[in-house]
């Protein structure tokens, strides 16, 4: 028989264990002081989260009747967490939404149509929609059929142009004239310059023209050659277009034929990135999110337009993520105001861009403060041109899911290794990709009728 006090303690412990199972089921909290409380789920590194907390403080100063709760997680966990939140109807009021998720999430009815709340905000003078980059906003417009037109479901957090950088120091060392700041190379000129830059000694002092990753850098060549992975309404896989096959073969030939890159086995992201950091490459992909890491490079670098294919015009893709609002939010106007603040407020933009050096979302701010700032890179106009004129969406963003696109990536290494020509590969894999695309379109249609 347990002693009285011991029994009491054990019983309490038992009950505590029991109740700990239900700890997660807290209901909605009523703010004691009558303030509206909204939550924002984000991901980011610890230093980014700290900056967000300060941004929230600024927001609460501007809107004293609103309290914001920040829920932060890691980038790779975010996708699973938000799906679980959607399935259990516990979404935060403001969430991150990637362009590739717009179709799936809006078709499932999870995202708020922000249009009427944005209109009210414009009337109140806290928003100027046409001061936001069109291409950035277009990623989050959806009319039920096509991305790029219709109602707005999110405001951009950032619009990241995938740009092209060059190693100024290496050029000067080899005595090669520097590239033009606005006029892109033609593909032939590009190869010529790369050949001059390449000196494969096989040792640590080897230099190469470049070493690009096929997943992120091929779009620049494909788009500027007048081709794409999909047709205009994203129903057909168009990689058997001769212009596409030509671009893919040109990309592979950089290693196989012209030998201006490290060998194909070494052409994986991490390895060529390390070579670039060491100063062994003449050219490398550079986006605003790289700038912070490039602060301590042992060489001078700058940004130029990607080499242009048969269209004569440069091109690349724009990365982005947006601030969306949950459809079942209890405070749509306040949540929209938070999204507006995070996306377009000058101070908020400055706080975040000081940390990561992203291009500001507001056109007027980008073309003045950002452009004229003295920090690197010098030729920020190249970034702005991509955002304004030459940037296109990545193929996987335009469809309900990206299975068809993953199929293409699966066997692409064989093309880069020279085991199969681009033409043969595209012709082989296009039917399989088309089937997966058709499946996803069918699934999308089915989800819409629910």
């Amino acid at each position: 028989m347990l002693k009285k006090s011991k029994k009491l303690i054990t019983m309490i412990l038992g009950v505590a264990v029991l109740t700990s199972i239900f700890v997660g089921c807290s209901g909605s909290k009523k703010a004691a002081d009558g303030k509206v409380e909204i939550s924002w789920m984000c991901y980011g590194q610890p230093q980014e989260t700290k900056v967000y907390e300060q941004v929230i403080k600024k927001f609460e100063e501007k809107y004293p009747n609103v309290k914001v709760k920040l829920v932060s997680t890691t980038q790779d966990q975010y996708g699973q967490k938000i799906q679980a939140a959607m399935a259990s109807n516990t979404m935060s009021d403001v969430v991150y939404m990637g362009p590739g998720d717009v179709k799936a999430w809006t078709n499932a009815g999870k995202m708020l149509k922000m249009t009427e709340y944005l209109d009210k905000a414009e009337k109140d003078g806290i928003l100027k929609l046409d001061d936001i980059w069109e291409k950035g906003l277009a990623k989050y417009k959806y009319d039920g059929t096509k991305i790029g037109q219709g109602d707005i479901y999110a405001l951009p957090k950032d619009i990241g142009p995938f740009g092209f950088g060059y190693n100024k120091t290496l050029f000067e060392k080899k005595g090669i004239p520097l590239p033009d700041k606005t006029k892109p190379y033609t593909w032939d000129q590009f190869i010529d310059v790369c050949k001059k830059l390449t000196n494969d000694t096989g040792g640590d002092d080897a230099t190469f023209g470049t070493g690009l990753n096929v997943q992120w850098s091929l779009p620049a060549f494909v788009f500027s050659n007048g081709a794409d992975w999909l047709n205009d309404d994203a129903t057909k896989v168009t990689i058997t277009d001769p212009k596409f096959e030509e671009s893919l073969q040109f990309f592979a030939d950089q290693t196989l034929k012209y030998k201006i890159t490290p060998s194909s086995e070494q052409g994986q992201t991490l390895d060529t990135y390390q070579r670039w950091l060491k100063g062994q490459l003449g050219f490398f992909a550079t986006a605003p999110w790289d700038i912070a890491a490039f602060e301590s490079l042992p060489f001078e670098y700058d940004i130029i337009p990607w080499p242009a294919g048969s269209t004569g015009q440069t091109a690349s893709w724009l990365g982005s993520v947006g601030f969306g609002v949950a459809a079942n939010t209890k405070h749509p106007q306040e949540a929209t105001n938070l999204a507006i603040f995070l996306s377009t407020d000058k101070d908020a933009n400055k706080m975040v861009s000081d940390q990561q050096i992203q291009v500001p979302n507001i056109k007027s701010m980008a073309k003045t403060d950002y452009l004229n700032a003295s920090n690197k890179p010098a030729n920020k106009q190249a970034f702005i041109d991509l955002i304004e004129k030459y940037g296109k969406p990545l193929p996987g963003e335009r469809t309900y899911n990206a299975e068809w696109y993953n199929k293409y990536l699966e066997g692409i290494q064989d093309v880069l290794d020279g085991k199969i020509t681009a033409k043969d590969y595209c012709e082989k894999v296009q039917p399989e990709m088309q089937k997966l695309l058709d499946d996803s379109i069918a699934k999308e249609a089915k989800e819409k009728t629910k």
Partner: protein
Amino acid sequence: MHELLLTFATKILKSKKIIGGENMAAKIKIKSKSDYYARERKAGYLFVLAPVLQFFIFALVPLLISLYAGFTDWSTIGKPSFTGIENFVKMTQDPHFWKALFNTAFMMIGIPIRLVLALMLALAMNRKIFGAKTFRVLYYIPVISSIAAISILWRWVYNGDYGLLNQVLSIVGVKGPNWLTNEATVKPAIIAMAVWQDLGMSMLLYLAGIQSIPKDYNEAAQIDGANTFQIFKNITVPMLKPVTFYMVITGIIGGSQMFIQQNLMTDNGGTNYSAATIVYYLWDKAFKQYQMGYACAVGWILAIIIFAVTYFQFKNSSNELFEE
């Protein structure tokens, strides 16, 4: 919510006079022996309630839901609608599914490799060599380390350009391939890493097994003139059968659910889908392609396969194992 539960539970306990005022103990009259046992029983049930509830809520209910979901086209974010056996038909037609099954089965080669190495190590540890205890700790450290951390580390070891492995190989003049992106080497590379990680645990189990073999057998055999190898073959190995059996079963059950290594060390399932395991396949379908219903169907097929394999193993070994 939990305040409610607390009050409710306290009420029950108070009414049963189990907790209460100062002199409760003196006031409680034990009427009979069965009354005493009944009270103990009730207290027991209350204690057991917590883990049982936990099993129900976090294991049994999701299991049943996923069984239902396997027959729907649920996308996690939308509403599920019943589709019959469509998912299962689709499964048989998807080459990725079969490739993933093949990859998973291939990974099982690590089990006999691990057992042989572990047995050899255990025999070595059994002697009174200097620093045996330190070695045991060192071998066991990978077992308790986070799989994710080890995977990321080994991703760098296997790196084609800068990895430790290729640097060591280059000392002897061998140019190592890019282990994780080369179709032919990615699975052996992951197997090697997995064997290395689990070796400590298997070695310890074998060590315990060896040390529990009654010394009489060895002595009797030595008297009969058996040499070390004969003793090993006829006494040690058969006496270790239960341990081996256990490790093969858990190895198969665990190995068929391999996921973290593939997820962290290769991208998109490896070149030409050469590294993806069945759990990677279903995770990708569930969380990236919005096909949770289909993934549940795959999960149940996997469960049935594992169950069948385990069942047959028990069937085959039961006569030998439980003889004595």
